[in-house]
């Protein structure tokens, strides 16, 4: 998708705190919402509530990390929700062999579907949105066929530890997420893959002529996205204590894309903001908490969400017009 790329006139000036904040509108929005809740939401400033914000944001953060990489290559991955469902459907099938093999299988399925996406995008040359849309439709169907459409209760101590366990008061799932964020951040900042994927997103033709292994990069990126979605599926399943392929990850593709874009990664590719993505997910979490805490209706919630999305994106797209 092309946005109207502004003529060079719109160069950002990165000077001063205000400039920084404008550049990173999402940080400002998160901060504002946080302060709002501190003041107006009862019981918000308690450790439990704050911890809850993190825990509940975990699945979206994890999925959005993968999505950010895909978007960096000027792609999109609509299949993440379906991959979560597939991961959830696989767990009970293999739980008989032990919890680790079951989780392993779930992650393998995620990678596998990711590779399939990669195949269609990189080798066949399909448009990412349509390739992954097909997987979105078919993948969840497959998950439901595997699970016979049913929710399966899971009673496994290791799984519930993943959902509810804590280390030094920090939930395991949050720790896992921190590790993942650092890893993906490292990939983006320091590795060949990170550099090459933004190059592919910035100008695919030029990258090809500069010897960037475009196909391999795309494969890797979609596989990573699939893997991360599967991890999110496992974590969410662990937290629910039940594999529920019908509902798990519904609309997660849209949440994740929103988190990524609100976080400052352009859909036109060529740039990836990892911390911004995390912030984007946190913003959505805070919006949800705020609205639920103040008992807003579904319709209000949608309207407010719309305004906040526009506000956050507008903030960091706001550019100085040279007068």
């Amino acid at each position: 998708m092309t946005t109207l790329t502004a003529p060079p006139e719109t160069t950002r000036r990165r000077s001063g705190l205000m400039g920084q904040l404008r550049e990173r509108g999402v940080y400002l929005a998160v901060a504002a919402l946080f302060v709002f809740n501190l003041v107006f939401t009862a019981n918000f400033a308690t450790p439990d509530t704050l911890r809850l914000q993190l825990i509940q944001a975990v699945p979206i953060i994890i999925v959005a990390l993968g999505m950010a990489l895909v978007i960096g290559t000027e792609g999109i991955d609509l299949s993440v929700g379906a991959i979560m469902a597939l991961a959830a459907a696989v767990i009970p099938l293999y739980l008989g062999y032990g919890v680790l093999p079951a989780i392993g299988m779930a992650l393998l399925v995620g990678i596998g579907v990711g590779l399939l996406n990669g195949l269609m995008v990189a080798v066949v040359g399909l448009q990412p949105i349509i390739a992954t849309l097909a997987v979105l439709v078919g993948g969840r169907g497959l998950a439901l066929v595997m699970a016979d459409g049913k929710l399966t209760e899971l009673f496994d101590p290791t799984l519930s530890a993943l959902g509810y366990g804590k280390v030094f008061g920090v939930p395991l799932a949050v720790l896992l997420t921190v590790v993942l964020v650092i890893m993906v951040g490292f990939v983006m900042r320091r590795t060949l893959l990170g550099r090459q994927l933004v190059a592919v997103g910035g100008n695919r033709k030029a990258s090809l002529l500069a010897g960037v292994p475009v196909r391999r990069t795309l494969f890797a990126v979609y596989a990573l996205s699939g893997l991360l979605a599967a991890i999110a599926g496992v974590v969410l399943t662990a937290r629910t204590g039940a594999a529920n392929p019908a509902y798990i990850g519904l609309e997660f593709e849209l949440f994740a894309i929103t988190a990524v874009v609100v976080g400052g990664t352009p859909l036109t590719g060529g740039r990836v903001r990892i911390l911004g993505t995390v912030m984007g997910a946190m913003l959505m979490q805070l919006v949800s908490t705020t609205l639920v805490s103040h008992n807003l209706m579904d319709s209000d919630r949608r309207i407010v969400t719309a305004l906040i999305i526009i506000g956050a994106v507008a903030l960091h797209q706001a550019r100085r017009r040279s007068s």
Binding site: F44, L52, K150, E153, Y164, R239, A246, V292, N295, S299
Partner: protein
């Protein structure tokens, strides 16, 4: 689907739907639509079934399964569609089944209104329709459809309120986990509940109503958020069992103990009835989805000339801590 060797396990005798009350004239193939329709032999007929919502909801999946099982048990050919919550698709689905030449239809309408084009088409082709679950309010029995069998969702809400009043002793700060927005079930279950509470239980304060979309995960997330905002709540009314189980998970995670917060829910799934046994849930109002036997019985009566009543309301049970253990086998 089941294999030929293993016929559907007969449900425990009182798990099937029981008719609580019937009313209306008896409808047969001879007087249907004023002029009557062609008599067919049910055994060789093709019946179409239009499901309204995604079967991800246990209620829906049990409903569809029950219809399929009954058709198979009777050796009747069945074609099934699912509108996935889209009224327009349900119209197309029904028309598509008509185009395939079904002899009669069983419809679970998505809405009480709005299926007119499909109903008209069926009438034109002389295909009778039996409706289940949701009543077509602006249509007439034995004119536009044979008859209807279903639960009264408003009544379910009232009974949930009654149960809530009983288990909390009439004093509670309660929250409600609503079903998906824009769905009749949600509206009715909430309307009945509020109506009863407003009239009879001044001590029960509803501090928040939030949508959990009939989903366990969503129910859990919302309950967690509401618990954080209102740590003092003492009761939860969930529009279905899945959300109630999500609420249980949230309570567990928040370190609450069973019975701290009273939960009343509707449906009657195994998990929820087990929840009563475990002490987390205080009561379940049953909503029986097993429409298969009654629906096909109605078609049989229709064609045999015995006649079908316009309205059959089924009696829904209530699971309580007293009967939960014994009734667990009947839950779906």
């Amino acid at each position: 689907t089941q294999t030929a060797e293993a016929p559907p396990a007969p449900a425990p005798s009182d798990a099937g739907q029981q008719v609580q009350s019937t009313s209306g004239d008896d409808c047969t193939y001879e007087n249907y639509g004023g002029t009557g329709v062609e008599k067919i032999d049910l055994a060789t007929a093709t019946i179409g079934f239009a499901q309204s919502e995604r079967e991800a909801n246990p209620f829906r999946s049990a409903e569809t399964q029950s219809i399929k099982d009954e058709a198979e048990a009777r050796g009747i050919k069945l074609i099934a569609t699912n509108a996935q919550g889209d009224l327009n698709k349900e119209i197309s689905d029904i028309q598509s089944m008509l185009a395939q030449g079904v002899d009669a239809l069983i419809i679970s309408p998505l809405k009480s209104e709005g299926l007119d084009p499909a109903l008209d088409a069926a009438k034109e082709q002389g295909v009778p329709i039996f409706t289940i679950d949701r009543l077509l309010t602006s249509k007439d029995a034995c004119v536009d459809y044979i008859g209807w069998v279903g639960s009264d969702f408003v009544e379910q809400g009232r009974r949930a309120a009654e149960a809530m009043n009983r288990v909390t002793g009439g004093e509670a700060k309660a929250i409600t986990l609503l079903g998906a927005a824009g769905v009749n079930v949600t509206t009715d279950r909430n309307a009945g509940y509020r109506e009863w509470i407003d009239a009879n239980a001044p001590g029960i304060e509803i501090v928040a109503e939030q949508a959990g979309d009939f989903d366990r995960q969503k129910g859990q997330t919302v309950t967690e958020q509401l618990l954080a905002a209102h740590p003092d709540i003492t009761a939860i009314y969930a529009h279905n069992d899945e959300m109630a189980l999500g609420a249980v998970a949230a309570l567990k995670a928040a370190g609450r103990s069973p019975g701290d917060v009273k939960i009343i829910t509707i449906d009657g799934t195994q998990g929820a009835v087990q929840g009563i046994i475990d002490g987390w849930i205080s009561g379940v109002i049953e909503s029986n989805p097993r429409f298969g036997p009654l629906s096909f019985q109605a078609l049989e009566d229709f064609y045999s000339g015995k006649g079908v009543p316009a309205v059959q309301i089924i009696s829904d049970k209530e699971y309580t801590p007293e009967n939960a253990e014994a009734e667990l086998v009947n839950a779906y």
